[in-house]
Each structure stands twice: as C-alpha cells, then as structure tokens.
C-alpha cells in the first residue's frame, strides 16, 4: 500500500468529497492560492475555483458565522481555522449556533458543517499558537469531535465528517502534517465512535488521542522490552466516545493510562478515566492514571515547552509504577 503524508490525506479526502458533492465548499484565511500555512489545501483552488475555495478576511467569527448560515441553507461548508487557539473567537457561532440549531429548530434545520483546525505543542509557537483545545469543544452537546492519529485516520475521518449532518470539529496535530502512513487508494470511511486497537496487550491499557498515539506506541515498545505487554487504543473520536472498547480492554488488563495533549485539568483524560473507573471498577488493580499537558500556558522556551507534554519515557515510568502497585493514591 502506498504511504502518504497526513497533509496529503486531508487534501485527498476534501478533494474527493468536493468532486462527489457540489455543495461542499471551503472557507477560511489563506485557503485558496496560499493553500494554508501548512500547505494542506494546495491545489484545491485550481481544481474547484474560487467559488468553492473561498479566501476570507481575517475575521474568524465572521466566516464561521457565514458557514453556519450556509450549512443551514443547503451547503456543506468546511471552515478552515488556521490555529486551534482561534477557537475562542468562534465560540458563539460554534457552540451557541451550530451546536444547538438542529435541536432548537425542532429538527427542521441541520448544520452539516466541518470545522477543521489543529492542536499540538512543541512547534515553538508560544502560548497563543500551541494549545490543544479539543476538550473545550467536546464539552458541548451537539458537536462531534474527531482526532486523527495518522494519515489513514485523517482521511477516513474527514470524509465521514463532511458527510455527517451535524457540526463536526476535526483537530489535526500540526506536527504530524508531514508524517507518512499507509493509506488505501480506494475509497474508505471511518465511522465515528469506533475506537481502534492499534496494538493488543495484556498488562496495561494505554488510551491515547491524536499524536499521543505515537507516544503510546513508542512507550509500548519500550515496555515490551521489559516484559510488560501494553494495549494501545485510539478512540479516534472523543465525541462520540467508544466507551465499550475502552472498558473491555481495561477489564482485561486491570490498569490504564490515558494520554492526551490537552491540559490535564478538567480535560479529556479526566472524562475517559471516569468512564473506566465507573464501568470497570471491580476490574481495576491500580488507579487510572492521567497524562495531559501541564497546566501552564505553553512556554516559548523550547526546553520548558518539551517538559509540558507527555513523552514515551514518562508513560513508561508511570506504567511501571502501576504494574508494581505503588500506593500513590492512599494515605
């Protein structure tokens, strides 16, 4: 199977869906000739023209609001939000309008909109361009949240998102755009709410999202060298969340570490850990451990920035503690 970059996979997914469905359009800053700062959309304006690949002024609330209205009236807009950090600017359009319209119109209106944006630190982009804010969005009922962990997931989830009749937010890790992975040439879709078991194991479950799946896989390899068998699971969408796959895995392994690049406090790790603690309680042999980004603004100093995110070494360290039964949780 051929390997393509995550960036190419997103590009392919959008191009295929735009060919398939003429109502699919793109809106955003520098999406046309520039093809976005990460060059993800390069070539699309040449094929589909400026009527469907629309450069907008620098006004996130403005073009997101336009997209919500366009979605209500029959189009399937893809909003390109250059940095995930700009989500704060579009909160009303996304959370008050897009998320609630279907419900408040009694089902008469739908908002089949995709908002694609990114997350991830360690790109030396400082505190306002390095945040991972997916938990903020996943908190809102009415929004779906997909988090591709490779080029394969990026393509399959994007195509599903575009065809979904609900507003979907896709977070791509901005450090993964050049990462290659095998992606079939034939068409495929990845259904929402279906976790993927990347690697089966018996001793501990590592649940990881987005680029943290790579961290978990690296940790699993290190653990295997120490005779600890780790199972790596990628939920792929955090809303909806595939609880049963996670629970079944933890029932088997009795231990879990949840790894996510969002801030740890009140984050995705907390939600997943609580699901496990509740539904797999009598199978747990150790507390569910959470590893998120440090609860600080992302530092500009590279040395400090690297300390704020989970790494394979730190996952291994925690996994070994859980295996030993270190009583970190009791007085």
């Amino acid at each position: 199977m051929r390997s393509i970059t995550l960036s190419q996979a997103v590009n392919e997914a959008i191009a295929e869906e735009m060919r398939r469905d003429p109502t699919v359009i793109i809106l955003g800053e520098d999406v046309a000739e520039a093809g976005t700062p990460f060059k993800v959309l390069s070539g699309l304006v040449e094929e589909f023209g400026t009527d469907r690949v629309i450069d907008t002024p620098i006004s996130e609330p403005g073009f997101t609001g336009i997209a919500v209205g366009a979605a209500m009236t029959g189009l399937r807009p893809i909003v390109d939000l250059m940095f995930g950090d700009f989500l704060y600017l579009v909160m009303d359009q996304l959370c008050n309008q897009a998320a609630k319209t279907h419900y408040m119109s009694g089902g008469k209106l739908t908002v089949p909109m995709v908002l694609r944006t990114n997350l991830g630190a360690t790109r030396r982009s400082a505190a306002q361009h390095s945040q991972s804010l997916h938990a903020l969005v996943a908190h809102i009922p009415g929004l779906k949240v997909a988090m591709p962990s490779s080029a394969y997931e990026a393509k399959g989830l994007m195509k599903t998102a575009i065809r979904d009749n609900n507003p979907v937010v896709i977070f791509e890790d901005k450090l993964m755009y050049q990462d290659k992975a095998p992606v079939p040439e034939e068409e495929f879709l990845i259904p929402f709410g279906e976790a993927k078991v990347h690697q089966a194991g018996d001793d501990i479950t590592l649940i990881a999202t987005s680029s943290m799946v790579q961290v978990a896989q690296a940790a699993a390899r290190l653990l295997a060298a120490q005779n600890i068998s780790a199972e790596v699971i990628d939920p792929r969408t955090i809303a909806p969340l595939d609880c049963s796959t996670l629970i079944e895995s933890v029932k088997k392994t009795s231990r879990a570490i949840v790894i996510d690049e969002g801030h740890q406090q009140y984050g995705v790790t907390a939600e997943i850990a609580s699901v496990i603690a509740h539904d797999a309680f009598y199978y747990l042999d150790a507390p569910v451990h959470r590893m998120g980004a440090m609860d600080v603004p992302v530092p500009f100093s590279p040395v400090l920035e690297d300390l704020t995110v989970p790494t394979p070494d730190r996952v291994v360290e925690q996994a070994k503690k859980l295996m030993r039964g270190v009583r970190e949780h009791v007085a």
């Binding site: 009598y282 199978y283 747990l284 042999d285 150790a286 039964g325």
Partner: protein
Amino acid sequence: MSHEVLMPQLGMAQNSAIIVSWNKTVGEPVTEGELLLEVETDKAVMEVESRHNGFVTAILSGAGSDVPIGDVIAMISASADDAVVVTKQTDPSTAAQKTTDAAVAASSATISIKSTQKNNADTAPAQTDTALNNNHTILASPKAKRLAYERGVDLQRLIESGAVPPFHAADIPRSSDQLTGSDQVIAMLQATVDLTGIQDFIEWSNEGNGANKGEGESSSSLSTQQMLAAFCASGMPSISSGNGITLRVTDHLDVVRYWMVGGTGLSAVVQVDNAAHWDIDIIDLSQTMIVDYLPATGPSSITRQVTLVVCSDPSASQQSVNLRLYFPASSMSTIAAANWLQGIAKRCVNPLLQLI
C-alpha cells in the same frame, strides 16, 4: 435485662443475609455503637453495630449462616452471668438442665482473628460499608477485593499469613483453601436428655401394648436406636430428596446399621443392609468410655454430613445422655437446627409425642 439482636434489614429487596463473622464472642462486653458482626447481602458486606451496652450472652447463628431478616441472632444482657447459651468450652454443669442448651462453635480461627483485630481497632463508629472485603480498613485494589470476595479469601487472614497491604490481584490466593486449609464451619448444638422415657415406652410397647402389635416378629423388638432414628427423621430441615431419610448409626464403636425412614410412624423405620448415602450420621458412644467425637473438617464432601453424637453425661445420672448435633453452618440455620434438636430431645423424654 436482656436485649435481642435481630438480623437487620440492610437492603430494599432483601429477605435474608449471611453472617460473615462475629466481632464478639459469648461473654465479651460490648458497648453501644461497637462493631458486633458483619453480614453479607447480595454483593456487599456490611457492619452491624451493637445498639446496647452489656455483655454478649448468646450467639444463636454462627458465621456462614443465612438468617432471615428479623430473626434473633444474638442476645445482649446487662450481666455476663445471664448467659443462656454457652459455648462448648464452658462449664458442663449448665448442660445438666433438661432444656436445649445451644452451643455454636463457629470457626474458632475466624473468631480469634476477629478479636485480635478488635484490639487494635480505632473504635471508629460502625458504618454501612459497601466494600467487598469484610474489613474496610484493609487496603486493596477494587480487583483484589473482588477476587478475594469471589474466592472466599479473608484479607485479614492474608495479613496474618505475612502479606503486606495494599493488596493487588496477584496477592490474592486462588482459593481460601490455599490460605487456611478449609473454610468449612461446623456448628454444634447440645441437648441433655433422660432416656428413661424411651426405655419405659419400649418396655410398654414390647409387652404388646404398642403400635407394633401383631406386625410380626421383627417389629416386636423395638429398639432405642430405631426410635432415635425415627425422632431424628422427624422435622429434619433441608432434606434434599423426597424419598425419605437415610441414617447411618454406629454404636459400640464398630456396629454399623442403616435405617430408612419413610414416614412419621415408628413402623415406617426400616433397617436396610447397606446405603451409599445417608442424610444423618448417628454415632452412639453412650456404651463406651469416649465422651465426645468431633467430625473432621475439611474440603471434602464428608464434612457436609450432619452428625448426631450420643454420649453419656458423666456429671448426671446413668440414664442421662448428651445429644450433640454437629452440622455445617452452611447446611441449615442455627435456629432451624435448634428447633430440630429440641424436637428430638422432647421425643426422647416423652416418646408419645412421636405418635401425635
């Protein structure tokens, strides 16, 4: 002044609960609010605290008993001298009275452990505890507690065996047998009866006045053993088969007879040559120098046998014997067993009751 301790209602849809362990033994002082026992409902073990100050003067249901809600399980009295139920180790003179003296010999290992545990308890107020192990102060992972519960492992005994908490799944033995050899709890009840009544009845019956008149040679010689078999078969709780009751009787140490009891009348008691299975094992030691016999405990099925030991009472008259009923605590409740033994004892004193 005595207070009854009743099996409490601990859940909405709950008819009975199993006694996990007693924190007190008979004769021990107890204060209001102190942990008295632990009971198990559906999936949870809960603590029951004393509601009175005083002394535990009776424990009527041993560990392992499944007791209906509202049944009396113990007595608490103002004075330790009020003991109405004595354990096996106490002064035998109290057994001389012609009432059913009950004794509950629950697993002594469990009781001694419970009492050492009490000594270092922080006298925290007893509370409803939904933890799966039988002591909420022992640290263990949820999985370890679940496995301990499923495998019948007492975490306190795990500590006594040298293991150090907090416990994890790997610390829990495959079964409680690995830890202690056996968890089988044998309870014992004792009644003292005068057999003069039986002998008078047999004499009267064999003179041609009894129910067996005219039924042939074999039934003319009514024996004490046959009558005891009939008494035992009457009202025995938890009989599995409907095909009557089989008894094995051993007397003079090596004479074994098998009796089938098909009904309540004395003529329904028939001696059979052999039996592969019997419901009650009667060991008659009254004609020997041996004063007691305790059935062996162990994981094999023989320990599930209900055993009645008949032995002479050296402290009483020649015609007086002790009837000791040993039964697995899991096979019947102590109340049911006590009622049963009471029936046997009453019939021994007045055999005519059997005919009513």
